[in-house]
Amino acid sequence: MFSPGELITALLLLSAIVVFAAGTLALLRLPDPLCRLHALTKIDNLGFGLLAAGLALIQPTWIDGLKLLAIWTLILCSSTTNGYLIAHHCVWESRR
């Protein structure tokens, strides 16, 4: 009753949920900011990537799917920079 595309979507979305759950757990449990940052950026990149890929497959037109992937690229850029900035700030704070 599901087309193969829908099955792949479901799989991707489910794995996105698992990644997000793991990331959230890590955010709560890991000891210091740098480690948490590690978890946070992983969620952003991988989780959103899975989510975007899953949703892109079920869009009515391919251009919408492309938009989702473009959003993911933007998230990649910003989370990279964010991670760098927060880490930078942490190092700066600890040196002070």
């Binding site: 910003s78 990279t80 760098y84």
Partner: protein
């Protein structure tokens, strides 16, 4: 149906939790962070309640700009607060009072429900074809209730002039680093493009001058926070012109109609769409300037409002 019920309940509970966090968290910094999260959640709630215009505006203005404003205004040194017993008592009494009031208000609300389609929204849909734009919210904002929007621009202008009168702009934070510069180089053109898209889109889909202006102002915030790239140089006259532009266009378009024997702000049907776009373009530029200045917290040029003019001190 059941599924939506669960989603709604989660959203409401989260809203209340985040609101409580931003009202009662121990330090100001935490409260500001809770507030930003609250703003983002609100944007999701607006999307859930079929208000995409508000979702866009809330994400850009409510969470983004207000959040950045509050973060920038955080005092660097945290004063330690000790609460006395009397304060505690007042706190509990006020909370009790608030709870009571909330219960009364909710009880009153239940007498009103369900609110169904009344006259006004039907009237909006009925007259939408005469409005010049096909998106109902834009039609209400720029045509049916344009006077509200015009006065709202005046409110924003008033706040901006008030801010400009008080102090010079906040100093840019220290340079955030090369990686941030790269991100800004990617983001800046995208933000400008998005603003233009939102502005154009407003005629037939969610978007419009306020969202576009807020996105442009967000570009200023990004530039300012990056610390590495300078804002474009303006002269004082240009700055004043940008501030006045939106309101001036709005008023002049409205008043010109008066000369043709029509009401104030009445657009001729054939021109309505283009006139609204014209007004919105001016408004976008003004709103972007005003929100940026409000965020920067003062005049970016030293000699606001007029350079070197204190000759008549003796009067």
């Amino acid at each position: 149906m059941m599924l939506w019920w669960v989603v709604d309940l989660t959203l409401c509970a989260l809203m209340i939790a985040l609101a409580a966090g931003s009202l009662f968290a121990a330090t100001l910094r935490r409260r500001v962070i809770f507030f930003i999260a609250f703003g983002l959640l609100t944007a999701i709630v607006w999307a859930r309640l079929q208000a995409p215009d508000l979702a866009l505006a809330e994400a850009a203005i409510g969470a983004g700009l207000t959040g950045a404003l509050l973060l920038a205004a955080l005092p660097t040194a945290q004063p330690t607060e000790h609460k006395r017993d009397a304060d505690r008592l007042i706190e509990w009494v006020s909370l009790l009072l608030a709870a009571l009031l909330a219960v009364v208000l909710i009880a009153v609300l239940t007498t009103l429900l369900p609110v169904v389609d009344g006259d006004p929204s039907l009237a909006v849909t009925a007259r939408l074809s005469d409005a010049g734009v096909s998106h109902p919210v834009t039609a209400v904002l720029l045509n049916f209730r344009a006077w509200d929007t015009l006065l709202e621009l005046a409110v924003l202008l008033c706040a901006t002039i008030g801010v400009l009168n008080l102090a010079p702009a906040r100093k840019a934070p220290r340079h955030a680093g090369a990686l941030a510069d790269t991100l800004i180089r990617i983001l800046l053109p995208l933000l400008i493009l998005t603003a233009g898209y939102l502005l154009w889109n407003g005629a037939f889909a969610p978007g419009g001058a306020f969202q576009a202006g807020a996105v442009l102002a967000a570009a200023t915030v990004v530039l300012h926070l990056g610390g590495g790239v300078r804002l474009p140089p303006f002269s004082l006259a240009q700055l004043r012109g940008l501030l006045a532009l939106g309101l001036l266009l709005f008023l002049s378009v409205g008043l010109v109609q008066l000369a043709f024997g029509q009401a104030l702000l009445q657009y001729p049907l054939a021109w309505a769409g283009s006139l609204i776009l014209l007004i919105e373009t001016g408004a976008t530029l003004s709103i972007a300037t005003m929100l940026s200045l409000v965020y920067l917290g003062g005049h970016p040029l030293r000699d606001w409002p007029v350079a070197g003019d204190s000759r008549d001190r003796e009067i």
